[in-house]
């Protein structure tokens, strides 16, 4: 798909999700965990946007915030032409069928006391008026779509393997014919052979139903396989956003470079003389991020300006965005704007 023709299905602007910290005798508000701090992205219709980053960088929180599973601190989210950032949860109910989620842990995301038919049927019970026969027919259709034997309809989640459970989760997400699905590390809890099955299933379903995915993962090779564009997150912010091939061929941001250099190379000859960028130190606490650039404490190319001024998330080439002072030379107006932002 060419980006010029596609229109954005999801537009996120300045999304912030801060969790308050209460401490002391009177539970005073002493600070915030800035899990997601001012991210903006567009997800085009029919594409898969990969969201990568290390553990704890706010990927999952970002995905959940986009679906308004949390009450967000600030920002706007427009999905399919509707701004859902400030409506209350009751009025949001009507929009829920358009956006669904697939969860990381298939064991935890299925109610152990419900049968497979009830789990897949729950969204139907909530949003559609179907007769008993129609409901069962639809459940069977969904089970066929994700490759589950119809015989399994009476069984309980604990009777399935991890891959089958994840298929149940996918069937549940598909039940209401959504347009947009947030996949929150759907393959992280599965072993490698099953990962491939589930990812292929997700791709097939995308073609079949014209779905748009926000695919959250820490697995760079899987993202390379499934995503059309990739956003890299670090400590609550997006540091780089680019089309897949461009990002993997020539990562711009030092963090992306470090991340990609950690992906093992199958060819031992090339692996031997490959340069690894090894980051030192730990990720700073999201409740107390450093001044300036969030990455300045670990960046191998850190400059003086990085510790003072927050870099702007700017377009370098068409479709390629990064937030780093290394690219400020191209754009002389960057520094004043950055100054006003902090």
């Amino acid at each position: 798909m060419t980006e010029a023709t596609a229109k954005p299905l999801v537009q996120v602007r300045g999304l912030k999700m801060h969790f308050p910290i209460h401490a002391g005798l009177f539970q005073r508000h002493v600070g915030d965990v800035k899990a997601v701090d001012d991210i903006s992205l567009d997800i085009l219709e029919g594409e898969t946007l990969g969201l990568v980053g290390e553990s704890g960088c706010g990927k999952s929180t970002a995905g959940r915030s986009v679906l308004r599973l949390y009450d967000i601190t600030d920002g706007s989210i427009i999905i399919d032409g509707t701004d859902i950032s400030s409506v209350d949860q009751d009025s949001l109910r009507g929009f829920r069928p358009r956006m669904q989620m697939i969860f990381q842990d298939p064991q935890a995301s299925l109610n152990p006391r419900m049968t497979l038919a009830d789990i897949i049927g729950e969204p139907l019970d909530e949003h559609e008026r179907l007769s008993k026969g129609q409901r069962l027919g639809r459940i069977y259709e969904l089970m066929d779509a994700v490759g589950l034997n119809r015989e399994f309809a009476n069984r309980y989640p604990h009777e399935f393997s991890g891959g089958q459970r994840q298929r149940i989760g996918i069937a549940r997400a598909l039940a209401l014919n959504p347009k947009f699905i947030v996949c929150d590390e759907p393959i992280a809890a599965l072993d490698v052979s099953i990962q491939a099955q589930v990812v292929n299933l997700l791709e097939d379903l995308q073609k079949q139903f014209g779905l748009t995915y926000l695919f959250i993962s820490h697995d760079l090779s899987m993202i390379r396989h499934i995503a059309t564009r990739v956003a890299v997150m670090y400590l609550g912010k997006i540091v780089e956003l680019a089309p897949r091939d461009a990002l993997y061929a020539e990562p711009k941001h030092p963090y992306t470079q470090a991340l990609l250099s950690a992906v093992p190379e199958p060819d031992p000859a090339r692996e031997a003389d490959r340069k690894h960028i090894i980051l030192t130190g730990d990720v700073p606490s999201p409740s107390n991020p450093p001044d300036g650039c969030n990455f300045c404490t670990r960046c191998p190319k850190v400059m003086d300006i990085c510790r003072r001024i927050e870099p702007v998330f700017q377009e370098l080439d068409p479709g390629r965005y990064a937030a780093c002072h290394l690219f400020d030379t191209k754009n002389t107006t960057a520094e004043p704007t950055a100054g006003t932002r902090t």
Partner: protein
């Protein structure tokens, strides 16, 4: 869609009723089956028995007092010559009715307050401090005050026996819900954070159905345990209150009252304590077994083992 379900799916069974699975699992629990049979048997004796054994438990035959077991009085007679079997049956009606209704009331209150406190963060502080307040109240003075205030009003409104029955159920129910509430709240807090609740929220399930569909079925085990213990507790509390003169009138038989009356004659006629004691403990035991079986049968993970 429906014809798919009919034609190509002749081999796929439609989802079965979960109650069938439930019953099948319950049947495999031998203790529970035995307990249920015994409990039904006790209910039968207590409620149908008086029609077959027609001696009046209130009839005083002073010449036949303090008799041992005989054909005329299978369980003997008490110090006023009243037939113990009749009194046991009459007392069982009251004790079981009080036990079951008071348990139901305290369970309802405890579950409601526990779920509300656990699920709605805003209510948590208020409801849990209320629970603490009830736990901290000295029980006997409270009961005294409640009974002083309401006994006569209820008696005039509903008649002496029904009035006291309502009062007893209310008093026992209102003073025994706190443990259930605390246990349920703890479990709800844990389950609320599980991913399937988040999944359900992403579907748009409103809070009331979230509670009935996801939260309550998963806190059923502790509720079931408190229910079975609650019946026992209610029967025993009722007898203690009757003993103190706060419950039913002294000539009105309940199992607890019979037990306490017999303790005066423990040395002369030790068998007299045995009957109500056995009735109470065997009933409580059978209910506990039933509760155990119910809990297992309601948990799909244990089913089929």
């Amino acid at each position: 869609m429906t014809d798919i379900a009919v034609n190509s799916l002749a081999n796929a069974r439609p989802p079965r009723s979960q109650w069938l699975d439930f019953w099948e699992q319950f049947r495999t629990h031998r203790g529970a089956l035995f307990g249920m049979t015994f409990f039904l048997f006790v209910l039968l004796i207590v409620f149908v028995g008086p029609y077959l054994w027609t001696l009046d438990g209130q009839y005083i035959d002073i010449r036949a007092r303090n008799q041992g077991p005989s054909l005329a009085h299978p369980f003997g007679t008490d110090q006023l010559g009243r037939d113990t079997l009749s009194r046991l049956m009459a007392g069982g009606q009251v004790s079981l009715a009080v036990g079951i209704t008071a348990m139901a009331l305290s369970l309802l209150l405890g579950t409601l307050i526990g779920v509300m406190a656990g699920y709605f963060k805003r209510l948590d502080g208020l409801l849990m401090r209320l629970t603490d307040l009830f736990l901290a109240l000295p029980l006997l003075p409270l009961l005294l005050v409640i009974i002083m205030l309401f006994r006569d009003t209820l008696r005039t409104a509903f008649g002496p026996e029904t009035g006291i029955f309502i009062l007893m159920v209310f008093v026992i129910g209102i003073t025994s819900w706190m443990q259930t509430a605390r246990i349920v709240r703890g479990d709800v807090l844990a389950i609320k954070e599980r991913e399937f609740v988040l999944a359900s929220r992403s579907i748009g399930t409103p809070s009331r159905r979230m509670i009935t569909r996801h939260i309550l079925p998963n806190v059923l085990s502790p509720i079931m345990v408190s229910a079975t213990l609650g019946i026992a507790n209610a029967i025993i509390t009722e007898s203690a209150l009757s003993f103190l003169g706060l419950g039913f009138p002294s000539d009105f038989p309940t199992w607890g009252r019979l037990l306490f009356d017999s303790t005066d004659y423990l040395q002369q006629y030790p068998e007299r304590v045995l009957w109500p004691g056995l009735a109470i403990s065997l009933t409580v035991l059978s209910v506990n077994y039933v509760g155990d079986g119910l809990r297992d049968a309601l948990d799909p993970r244990i089913r089929g083992r």
